[in-house]
Amino acid sequence: MPAVSRALDRIAPPKGRPVWILLGLAVALGAIDGGSGFFFRLSTLFSMTQLFSTLGLVALGLGFVMMLHEYDLSLAGSFALAGIVGVLTGVENPLLGVVCGVGVGLVAGFIQGCIVVWLRMSAVALTLGGLLLMLGITYVLAGGTTISYGNRAVTQWLQETMLGGTISYRGMIVVAVYILAALVFAYTRIGRDVIATGSNRAGAAVAGVNTDAILIGVLTAAGGLSALAGVLLAYSLGAGSAFGLSDVLMGATAAGIIGGVSLGGGKGRPLGVAAGALTLCLLRSGLSGFQGDPMLLDSLTGLVLLLVAISDGTLFRQRMLEWRRALFGSRPS
């Protein structure tokens, strides 16, 4: 059916590379397992989707920001603060907690976006300030400890499983958000405007894209998405607490990069980010299935980030050319 394949083309990640990486990893882990049963277990799949429901939304938000050739450190702050706000406001009415928590993330993203646009500055430094401020408020609200969430029914509902015990309701919410994001990105102007703004901001502005609105909108959405991840995690753990920078941001950055988002901006799709995030989560759940050192994963993630940062470097092609010339001599033209 050409219509279906056209639609798939439109929504699917660029050239399908992130999906191939994900499948390749699954096959590799399966081969290492070799029928010993550590990897081929339902629990591996479930722990993967559980990890994905935390990492996935932050990765999606950060992915959008990275498509614009920007970076948002404050997402780790929205994530932590929204968790605490959700736990504090959502005991009686869990939806109110979600609204308050996500609202905090949206407002934080919106304000930072406006300042970035107003002062024409890079988002990294500003969002470092935002991160510190939000972590400070988180510490004040939490009083330095974890706050437990009193509504056990919500915690249990989010942990309930479906599809043969492979995914929790929380995971399904995240999947739904991803599908929505992928559809909006593929079928509205927003997707093309984001890519255009990320590839060449001045050019996009000349072509009639409201680049300021795109930047503010993306930072706002990213804040909201990571806030949603924070609230959902706090609800399902039954507690909110402060998290470190490396816990959330490093995984989200790596997920985006594996998922085909370029550090130089202007490349990427929501479902590519999903594949990237799933790859990391599969790696982690697979490693813990083999009783591997979870710290190995942090080092691996760091290594992946480093390699991608190198190959995305502005001078990378030039250096490779220099190396080739040095190794093989210059070719007579």
Binding site: Y71, I115, L119, R120, M121, S122, V124, A125, L126, L128, G129, G130, L131, L132, L133, M134, L135, G136, I137, Y139, V140, G143, G144, G244, L245, S246, L249, M250, T253, L263, D293, M295, L296, L297, D298, S299, L300, T301, G302, L303, L305, L306, V308, A309, I310, D312, G313, T314, L315, F316, R319
Partner: protein, 315 residues
């Protein structure tokens, strides 16, 4: 072109920036005077001491910011790693262990600088990768816990004092002088400022930017290692947590001092003043009984304000 209008707007913005700065300074000085116990020798030493540990890392960050690479998020982790190396190698004697720790700090940062300078890699992502690698491998090696020195006597020379000043303050003040001389009196300093102003223009004039950026990060690693050694000697143990959070204070000090975020302009004096200001606020908050959490918020507000002021000055 409406040039007079433009310059009037720029003039107005300049006035706003200056009045905000003056107001903040007035509030800090005012509350310092009004806080009982602030204007005493003891609190002055405590403030200087607090400023020194932040300040050493901040001196390293100053070089990175001037080089046009904004900030590094792996300086705190490098501090921890150097502290761990120092504690583990105390068998080599005090100065042997110091040398080992300094070497570790320089190597960890210089490697990142090489990648950033040679490949033009994104400095923030490289520093996050560095953070992950240092913490990951460090946890694997140490088991994530505290490490105590094999030879406790090796710490003794580092507890020496010169008059009322402890080793940390002495090293910091010396560090400021050395950093300032490096920046203003050496060829490396001038090349660094050229690279920070415009890496492409610097490369066009024959400056080897990869070497300059690598050296910049090596200097940052050196200052982190000094902070790590002194922290380890003071706490009498080291862990991966030793340097956690220093990146933020350091970056705050650099910006509050007035070093420009876009690179190419800044000084060690400015960073020292920034660190002293942050430390003074810290002392005021402690004397007035505010919690650690309130200090985080204030640091966030300071960094936000400094970033906004810094970038509105740049236009």
């Amino acid at each position: 072109m409406n040039v007079p209008g433009l310059s009037r707007a720029a003039f107005g913005r300049e006035r706003v920036v200056w009045s905000v700065k003056a107001a903040v300074l007035a509030v800090i000085v005012g509350s310092a005077i009004l806080t009982p116990g602030f204007v005493t020798p003891a609190s002055a030493i405590a403030t200087l001491d607090h400023a020194a540990l932040i300040g050493l890392v901040a001196l390293g960050m100053t070089f990175i910011t001037i080089s046009g690479n904004q900030l590094s998020l792996s300086l705190g982790a490098t501090l921890s790693a150097a502290a761990l190396v120092f504690v583990v190698t105390t068998g080599l004697g005090t100065w042997g262990a110091c040398a080992a720790a300094i070497l570790a700090g320089i190597l960890l940062q210089a490697a990142q600088g090489l990648v950033i300078g040679y490949f033009g890699a994104n400095p923030i992502i490289v520093s996050i990768a560095g953070l992950g690698l240092i913490l990951g491998i460090g946890t694997h090696l140490t088991g994530g816990g505290e490490v105590y020195p094999a030879v406790a006597d090796a710490l003794k020379p580092l507890h020496a004092r010169i008059g009322p000043l402890n080793m940390l303050i002495v090293v910091f003040l010396l560090g400021v002088v050395v950093a300032e001389l490096l920046l203003s009196r050496t060829r490396f300093g001038r090349q660094l400022i050229a690279v920070g102003s415009s890496a492409r223009a610097a490369a066009a004039t024959g400056i080897r930017t990869p070497a300059v950026v690598t050296a910049t990060y090596a200097v940052a690693g050196l200052f982190c290692a000094l902070a790590g050694i002194i922290a380890a000697a003071r706490f009498r143990y080291a862990s991966l947590e030793t340097g956690a959070g220093y990146d933020y204070d350091a970056f705050g000090s650099v910006l509050i001092g007035g070093t420009l975020l876009r690179g190419g302009f800044g000084s060690a004096w400015r960073t020292m003043m920034g660190a002293l200001l942050l430390a003074a606020v810290h002392t005021i908050l402690v004397l007035r009984g505010y919690s650690q959490e309130a200090q985080y918020i204030l640091l966030g507000v300071f960094v936000l304000g400094a970033v906004c002021l810094s970038s509105s000055e740049e236009r």
